[in-house]
């Protein structure tokens, strides 16, 4: 949760925010009371519709045929509608609910209504499309369709906080030649004015709340986050997962528009120790919250790629070095651990290091390779590092394949890899066995999840301590301007080499666990880009998507990039294509990532107002809060 770069910068942004020129205007001209009534009526209709049957057949995922009991995607609509209704009531001033929109803006209501509309219409259209025609819709489906529309229309008629009006003599260079056409310019100016604008609205300070209540809120929010996460993982069908994503992404955006997230951030900042403890506890609770090895496996995988991404974040995010072959360091760690694991396929098959020694060996080996690669190239211009790391990533795989005693010395067992890596045993606790803890059972992957969690916490600590230290500030200085930093007396080469070697060792550390989780190491996964993590492009994307230079960013990015494709099975063969397009779009519209490092955000949006309020649709932005789970 600690967004490193400096709470001070954040406060500076908050201080400069202007409150004088708040402009509100509805999109649909209606009297205020009518607009409010329409919104509430829409919410009620939509809620009611979820208790009706939406379709005749059970063929549609989640069985939407039952009356009087919502199921499947109807739940998404129900949650969206309830949330919209309640938040709307609070915004309209109902005592006891006002806290739901601390900033008193209707924008939150609109966005929540949008979430409801999105998931409801998606469901209805999906039913019609999947089952072949509108005839498959029950009256309930039509009621939901109209209810959501009424809700959204009502919200559009509320006075919404908008961008300030465009100056009459504004010039729009970005339009290029089209600037000559006045209709285009007018349309463009209208679009600019239509943008919602709520990021600078003042919210009451949550830190004034009773201390224990603050902590209660933190606990509840984390628990809820865990619940939401496990609910999402449990969805059986891509259809339901899409509905879930719509509600979650747009809903969280809506709540943040109302200022709740800002308040929550104040709380976590204020109770830093407490909230990180709760975050860790929540993460520990994850395998206990469900007794499902598949999810534990997912969790362990996410932690592994997340941790590796965090290591890469030191190199890329803090120091600004381009590493395009980072996955090779994971491979070095994995192979080292495999060699000393006692596997019969290892050349030292008799040797079985205890885990701490294996982990250190993996880190050490990766560190050595990091120095070997970094030392000749870090003295050169930055882009040379890109080609050297890219090349290293490629030849790592080739070398490992060749060290089989046929086309090279026998070290890695070549293409067959090192199989039958025994499970770890720490203090007599065999991670391969199922253990009972009270009334809970922890399977193999749950054990590894917990072990990986420990590693992740270590890496987070290393990351934060390093970043806050003298050397961390040197990294940032180098990233911002190497010439200036060198002039200030920073030994650029040495500082960069430390970052590179540290990043490599952290990847090596994760690799040691990776080898044991997958029971075998083979050369094939260590590629530049592929449909399955870990690969270098994926790791880089996780760092950039999550937010460079932050702690929770890369972990969240890795989680999203890992879980979403797993759930959207219909993407299957188009997954990599979608990944590529997503990278382009993210860079185009939100290059600072989901959890922006304050400093970077300002850098990317120099010519705009700070912290843009309107995120583009389709960019599933989930702000910081869900990352803890």
């Amino acid at each position: 949760m600690t967004d490193l770069p400096i709470a001070a910068a954040e406060e500076a942004v908050a201080a400069t925010a202007t409150h004088g020129n708040r402009r509100t205007a509805p999109f649909i001209p209606l009297p205020l009371t009518a607009a409010r009534a329409t919104t509430l009526a829409g919410a009620v209709i939509t809620i009611a519709s979820t208790f009706m049957s939406w379709t005749y057949t059970t063929d549609f995922p989640g069985d939407l045929t039952v009356s009087g009991y919502p199921g499947g995607l109807q739940i998404m609509t129900l949650i969206g509608a309830i949330l919209t209704g309640v938040v709307a009531l609070g915004t309209f001033g109902l005592t006891g609910l006002r806290w739901l929109t601390p900033s008193r803006t209707n924008n939150g209501v609109l966005l929540l209504a949008l979430a409801t509309l999105g998931t409801t219409w998606y469901t209805v259209i999906d039913i019609a499309a999947k089952l072949g025609g509108l005839a498959n819709l029950d009256p309930g489906g039509f009621v939901a369709f109209i209810g959501a529309l009424v809700l959204f229309a009502g919200a559009l008629a509320l006075p919404l906080d908008r961008h300030p009006e465009e100056p009459a003599d504004a010039e729009y260079y970005e339009l290029g030649r089209a600037e000559g056409i006045s209709a285009v310019v007018r349309g463009y100016a209208w679009l600019r004015e239509a943008r919602l604008h709520h990021s600078e609205l003042r919210v009451p300070d949550a830190r004034k709340l009773n201390r224990w209540l603050q902590r209660l809120v933190i606990v509840v929010v984390y628990a809820l986050g865990l619940k939401i996460l496990t609910f999402g993982l449990a969805t059986d069908y891509s259809d339901i997962f899409i509905g879930y994503l719509i509600v979650l992404a747009v809903g969280v955006w809506g709540l943040s528009a109302g200022g709740l997230l800002k308040q929550f951030q104040q709380l976590t900042q204020h109770n830093k120790k407490f909230s990180s403890t709760v975050g860790v506890l929540t993460a520990i609770a994850y395998p206990f919250a469900q007794n499902n090895e598949l999810w534990a496996n997912l969790g362990a995988s996410v932690l592994i790629v997340g941790t590796v991404a965090l290591g890469l974040n030191i190199v890329v995010g803090l120091t600004g070095l381009l590493d395009l072959g980072y996955v090779a360091f994971l491979g070095v760690g994995a192979y080292t651990a495999a060699l000393v694991s006692g596997s019969p396929f290892s050349i030292w098959s008799g040797t079985q290091f205890p885990f701490w020694a294996a982990a250190l060996a993996g880190m050490g080996a990766a560190c050595v390779f990091g120095v070997l690669i970094g030392a000749p190239t870090l003295r050169l211009r930055g882009d040379y590092l890109a080609i050297v790391t890219l090349g290293f990533g490629e030849i790592f795989r080739i070398i490992v394949r060749n060290l089989d005693g046929v086309s090279g010395p026998k070290v890695t067992n070549g293409p067959n890899g090192i199989a039958q890596i025994p499970d770890l045993s720490i203090f007599g606790y065999n991670l391969g066995d199922t253990h009972s803890v009270g009334s809970f059972t922890l399977g193999r992957f749950a054990n590894y999840y917990l072990l990986m969690l420990v590693i992740t916490i270590i890496v987070v600590l290393v990351f934060t301590r390093a970043a806050d230290s003298r050397i961390g500030r040197s990294w940032i200085a180098i990233r911002e301007d190497e010439t200036a930093a060198t002039a200030m007396g920073i030994n650029g080469f040495r500082v960069k080499l430390v970052a590179f070697a540290l990043g490599a060792s952290l990847a090596g550390l994760a690799g040691t666990v990776f080898a044991h989780v997958t029971n075998s190491v083979v050369p094939d996964p260590y590629v530049f880009s592929g449909s399955v993590p870990p690969n270098s492009a994926f790791l880089l994307a996780a760092v950039v998507l999550g937010g460079m230079g932050t702690v929770s960013g890369p972990i969240l990015g890795a989680a999203l990039l890992y879980v979403i494709p797993q759930k959207l099975s219909f993407l299957s063969q188009y997954e990599l294509f979608a990944f590529g397009i997503a990278l382009i779009l993210i860079m185009r519209f939100r290059p600072e990532g989901i959890i922006p490092n304050r400093r970077r955000q300002l850098e990317f949006h120099e010519d705009e107002t700070p912290a843009p309020g309107n995120r583009p649709m389709g960019d599933d932005t989930v702000p910081a809060t869900t990352a803890g789970a």
Binding site: V316, G320, L322, P376, T377, R379, L380, R381, G382, D383, Y384, A386, I387, V388, L390, G391, F392, E394, I395, I398, I399, R401, N402, S407, G408, P409, D481, E482, T483, F528, S529, A537, L540, A541, V544, M548, Q573, Y574, L576, F577, F579, G580, I581, A582, L583, I584, I586, M587, R588, P591, R600, E603, F604, E606
Partner: protein
């Protein structure tokens, strides 16, 4: 060692292709300091564009008549993609930190590769590409395929044409100016956006020529040839001194010859028996890159320039 001339020729042909692709890399880098990671895929789409033209021509048409049309088809596809990428993906990020356009380029490269894989008919495996008839020609102890001759000829023609263009034409001089200092060039009345577009277009054009030459040489194109080719071309560009067009060609030739010789001769070196052959060729190419960077950090033909931050 009587195979040496043949192996050098093998390396020369392979290297010409690396060089042709590397020119696109190096030009774009020289002007906007962007590693256009998607350039390998632009090369690949050029080959597929040419193949698409060929498949739609009447089968009675001779390959010699079809070849110009294929070149045009490939060039149109490659140039459109290269220019489109510049206009819609890279330009909005021109002032962003350098990582942003690089990630865009990686995304673009994946998207292009997957687009061909998924939507070009039956492109999930290798596609047959027509080859030039005739050959092999024997020149001394060296066998040369007609596809190799085309490749070598194309590389020479392209290099000379580009050299003349950059040195003598108005646009070429504007390119040099933009490469040296875009801001000053702008003040001198150079439309830098146009120059950047032209650099991308020329890169795309050369990639398309390389793509057609690739198809003619190997008789097969595949959706994933772009990554390897792009990696090699990138290496070649850095070897030769990134930003220098002659350096790119030289780097390509050096790399190609190094790979051919590594495949053929490393195993003959005492003590290195196990490290020879095709499997290690790429590793040796990488070692060569590291050595060159250590000894001559600016690349073979690169000039030592001050870091333009």
């Amino acid at each position: 060692m009587h195979t040496l001339p043949q192996q050098l020729a093998n390396g020369l042909f392979l290297g010409s292709m690396y060089g042709l692709i590397a020119i696109g890399y190096t030009m774009v880098y020289g002007i906007v300091q962007l590693i256009n990671f998607a350039h390998g895929e632009i090369f690949m789409t050029g080959a597929f564009g040419a193949l698409a033209v060929y498949t739609n021509l009447p089968s009675s048409m001779s390959i010699w008549a079809a070849l110009p049309l294929m070149l045009v088809g490939g060039a149109i596809v490659s140039v459109l993609i290269a220019v489109g990428a510049e206009r819609f993906a890279y330009r909005p990020l021109r002032n962003a930190p350098r990582l942003a356009p690089l990630i865009t380029a990686i995304g673009l490269s994946l998207a292009l590769q997957q687009a061909v894989f998924n939507w070009y008919p039956h492109a999930t495996a290798g596609k047959h590409f027509p080859q030039l008839p005739g050959g092999p020609f024997h020149i001394g102890s060296v066998d040369v395929q007609s596809g190799d001759l085309f490749l070598l000829g194309a590389a020479i023609v392209c290099m000379i044409a580009l050299g003349v263009f950059v040195r003598s034409s108005r646009t070429g001089r504007a390119m040099q100016a933009t490469a040296q200092d875009p801001d000053t060039a702008k003040l001198m009345g150079v439309d830098t956006n146009r120059i950047i577009i032209i650099a991308f277009a020329i890169g795309g054009l050369f990639a398309a020529v390389a793509g057609v030459a690739y198809g003619l040489k190997y008789g097969q194109v595949k959706y994933d040839i772009g990554f390897q080719a792009g990696l090699k071309a990138f290496t070649a560009a850095v070897l030769g001194g990134i930003g220098n067009i002659y350096g790119a060609m030289l780097g390509g030739l050096v790399l190609g010859i190094a790979e051919a010789c590594a495949t053929a001769y490393i195993a003959n070196v005492p003590g290195m028996e196990q490290f020879g052959g095709g499997a290690w060729a790429q590793v040796w190419a990488f070692v060569l890159l590291i050595v060159v960077l250590l000894v001559r950090p600016q690349g073979l033909l690169g000039e030592r320039v001050a870091d333009r931050a």
